[in-house]
């Protein structure tokens, strides 16, 4: 009876100091270190940190302990056992030894036994760690049940060690009778609660980051298509709406360096698109090139435009492109609403994302610019040989057949008109064939009997689209490097076939000179590059050459032609 009340009293006392402990544990989980800490990946540096943390816990456990009969009832075991479970026998043993040595230095008749037993307890935790890892049960390293049972076993072991090592034996028995129950229960429970605090915090962080990632990804998904069209007033407006909808803040404003590009949400009646930047914080963010935050508490956001503006807090994040500030994204909350920390984090994160998207869009834009510049080069490449030979031919024909000469001149002008026109990236196969037809009619006149033309393209393929100016350079190559080098009769065959998965437009000549030339000329390379850019990487040019017999250049396109992007 006497013993029981004493035990109960002890349990409560121990639980009391445990609470202090748990507060410290809770604070630990709030530290930045904890956020980056995962039990699955422990680096030497992390281990060292954990060693200090758990050793401190353990030593504090000794200090908070109750002196009983020249011994100390305490919660020292929790630090050592948990260090073992989380970090393995090395960490557990090190923490146990440290706390044990500390306990030893305090003296008393259990000094030796307590010192030894704490080290052993750390090692027991370590054994559990090894067992769980070996059996692929890492997820249970932070299980309260595991912590409870391990500490239970460890504490019982400690009691046995005290009985074995402490002298005199009678005094040890008396002590153990008093402290065994409270220490075993208090330490086990404490360890379990400690672990569950860590675990819950961990879980919360995980859930929070999942929540953040999902939101950010969702926004990114919506904005990527918008910003793909460039960063301007139109797209800024759409992006602002997406951010407003996803974050649920009061209002969103996007500016460039001088003026408002977009403003949606509360206060959009007087915050108008196109006007100069009025917000003090935004100007500061631009001037100092950093995030400016007015939380609405100590630092208030005041509208410089209207006294009736409902907005009261703001987060201004600079939008940077290659380290150059190009504008800001501003999230506002009304005066009556708190600016959520989550939204602050999200706002900062999404701005980085948007910067990347704008950068990507710029890259694509420049890539397209390059290709359209190359198209101009390709068109300018129309060989002067062709022009002057054509004119020479027509002049000669004028003497003999005025009607034919007239017809040829019409083809020549059609050819050049098509060449000079470069609006849009795609043309129908019909338009391309028309262009090529004019070209071939003129070449046929030049070479007369030496050139024979064959064309077989199904009418239902005529509406399919391909990059403008793809066909002519290939036909020109076939003539210039193929037929015109032949002494015998040259044949150019133009065909188009639709196969499952692809459309092939083929230009065949019977010169078979391609191997001799070795590589694609500039014109052909540009054609191929444009097909890849506009129709996809899997398409382009396929060339096969049977020397002296024939060369086939096939344009491969998606089955349904190329789509407008």
């Amino acid at each position: 009876m006497d013993l029981l009340t004493f035990s109960l009293h002890n349990i409560f006392a121990l639980l009391q100091q445990m609470s202090v402990f748990l507060v410290i544990a809770y604070l630990f989980t709030k530290s930045p270190f904890f956020r980056s800490f995962h039990v699955h990946t422990l680096h030497p540096r992390t281990l060292l940190l954990l060693y200090f943390i758990f050793s401190t816990f353990s030593i504090l456990g000794t200090y908070f302990g109750l002196p009983i009969n020249d011994a100390i009832a305490n919660t020292r075991a929790i630090g050592a056992v948990l260090a073992g479970i989380i970090g393995g026998p090395l960490l557990g043993g090190a923490v146990g030894l440290t706390a044990g040595l500390h306990r030893f230095s305090l003296g008393g008749f259990t000094a030796v036994s307590c010192g030894v037993s704490t080290t052993v307890e750390g090692l027991i935790g370590g054994l559990v760690h090894i067992y769980l890892v070996r059996h692929y049960q890492q997820h249970r390293l932070l299980s309260p049940m595991v912590a409870f049972l391990t500490t239970l076993v460890a504490e019982i072991t400690q009691m046995l060690i005290i009985l074995t090592l402490s002298q005199p034996f009678e005094q040890a028995v008396a002590l153990v009778r008093i402290i065994a129950l409270p220490m075993i229960l208090a330490n086990s429970t404490g360890a379990a609660v400690f672990v569950s605090i860590i675990r819950d915090q961990r879980k919360m962080y995980d859930e929070l980051s999942v929540f953040f990632s999902t939101k950010a990804l969702k926004m990114a998904e919506k904005t990527v298509a918008i910003l793909g069209r460039g960063f301007n007033m139109q797209t800024a407006g759409e992006v602002a709406s997406v951010i407003l909808q996803e974050t649920g803040v009061g209002a969103v404003g996007i500016t460039d360096r001088e003026k408002v590009l977009a403003f949606v949400g509360d206060g959009s009646d007087h915050h108008q698109v196109g006007q100069g930047i009025s917000s003090t914080q935004t100007m500061k963010a631009i001037r100092e090139n950093r995030i400016v935050y007015a939380d609405g508490g100590e630092k208030k956001w005041r509208c410089n435009l209207s006294a009736a503006c409902p907005l009261g807090s703001v987060l201004c994040v600079p939008l940077r492109l290659d380290n150059e500030l190009i504008g800001t994204i501003n999230l506002f909350e009304p005066k009556n609403k708190l600016f959520l920390v989550t939204n602050k984090t999200l706002g900062e994160g999404i701005t980085k994302l948007l910067s990347d998207q704008i950068l990507y869009a710029r890259y694509i834009e420049q890539k397209t610019l390059v290709t359209s510049a190359e198209l101009k080069i390709a068109q300018a490449q129309i060989s002067p040989h062709f022009l002057f030979n054509a004119l020479n031919t027509i002049i000669a024909i004028t003497r003999k057949d005025a009607d034919r000469a007239r017809d040829l001149l019409l083809h020549l002008s059609n050819f050049f008109r098509k060449n000079l026109k470069h609006t849009g990236n795609l043309a129908t196969l019909e338009e391309e064939l028309n262009h090529v037809h004019s070209y071939l009619v003129i070449e046929k006149a030049r070479f007369e009997d030496r050139l024979q033309l064959e064309m077989a393209v199904d009418d239902d393929l005529l509406a399919l689209k391909l990059p403008v100016f793809s066909l002519q350079p290939i036909v020109e190559n076939a003539i210039k490097h193929g037929i015109s080098n032949m002494l015998g009769q040259g044949v150019i065959r133009l065909t188009a076939v639709r196969q499952p998965g692809s459309l092939r437009i083929m230009v065949e000549d019977n010169a078979g000179n391609f191997i001799e030339r070795g590589k694609k000329g500039l014109g052909m390379s540009i054609v191929e590059k444009r097909i890849k850019n506009l129709c996809g990487e899997n398409h382009g040019l396929e060339i096969s050459c049977n020397p002296g017999e024939r060369t086939v250049v096939a344009i491969t396109l998606p089955e349904g032609g190329c789509g407008e992007k």
Partner: protein
């Protein structure tokens, strides 16, 4: 009248040129053809005084053609091209003139008067031939450009000039004299040129003559006159 040959691979260009030349009343077009091989034949046969020569032609370009013409019968040359990509000014020293297509009759008149003057003063054409690297040959109705390294020997007979490689025998319009002058092939007999790299052995015969066996297993006579030169070349 100045005798002219027109060489251009486009029929309308030839016809137009013929008409323009006829209009000058100074030039008589003795022939026209569409490629270098025919041109070579016609030059050898017709001995024109002037060539109106296109540069870009199939198989043999205008430049290559000139390298294959016998220096003794080399005509004056007027290049006619659609586009001056060869910087023809650089050839002004070597050739009489060049014309750009479409040809303007006033410009042609200048060329013709220059031609009259040159021929009147009896100045020879100054086109310097370069080395021939590929010899245009006929095999049936196909034309092949045979690289010099392939050639074993070249022989002339009443039928013409024959070029022998390891696997084929071709007919060529290029004369033995031109080939001797503008290729590293060696004369070993009045009627034979040999590729020195293709000689496997030389068998000395009575009377200071010899016989060459080629890597391809063919036998070619060496006359007394040329044996010395060949020996010297081979450091014997």
């Amino acid at each position: 009248m100045i005798r002219a040959l027109i060489v251009d691979d486009e029929i309308h260009a030839r016809e137009e040129m013929a008409i323009l030349l006829a209009e000058t009343a100074v030039i008589e077009v003795v022939g026209s053809c569409g490629n270098g091989i025919e041109a070579l034949k016609m030059i050898n046969r017709l001995r024109p005084q002037v060539l109106f020569l296109d540069i870009q032609m199939p198989v043999i370009s205008g430049f290559e053609l000139l390298n294959m013409v016998n220096q003794e019968i080399m005509p004056h040359v007027v290049f006619v091209t659609a586009f001056d990509q060869y910087s023809l000014k650089a050839f002004e020293e070597k050739t009489l003139d060049y014309l750009l297509k479409p040809v303007d009759s006033h410009r042609l008149a200048k060329t013709v008067s220059k031609l009259q003057q040159t021929i009147g003063e009896n100045r020879p054409p100054t086109f310097d031939s370069e080395e021939i690297r590929r010899i245009p040959c006929l095999l049936g109705n196909r034309i092949r450009l045979v690289g010099l390294e392939e050639v074993e020997f070249i022989a002339t007979s009443i039928a013409g000039v024959h070029l022998t490689t390891r696997d084929h025998e071709y007919f060529t319009e290029v004369t033995l004299k031109v080939l001797e002058e503008r290729t590293p092939l060696l004369r070993c007999h009045k009627q034979y040129l040999i590729n020195i790299d293709q000689i496997r052995e030389i068998v000395l015969l009575d009377g200071g003559m010899a016989q060459i066996a080629t890597h391809g297993g063919k036998h070619i006579p060496v006359s007394r006159r040329y044996l010395k030169i060949i020996k010297k070349k081979l450091f014997i």
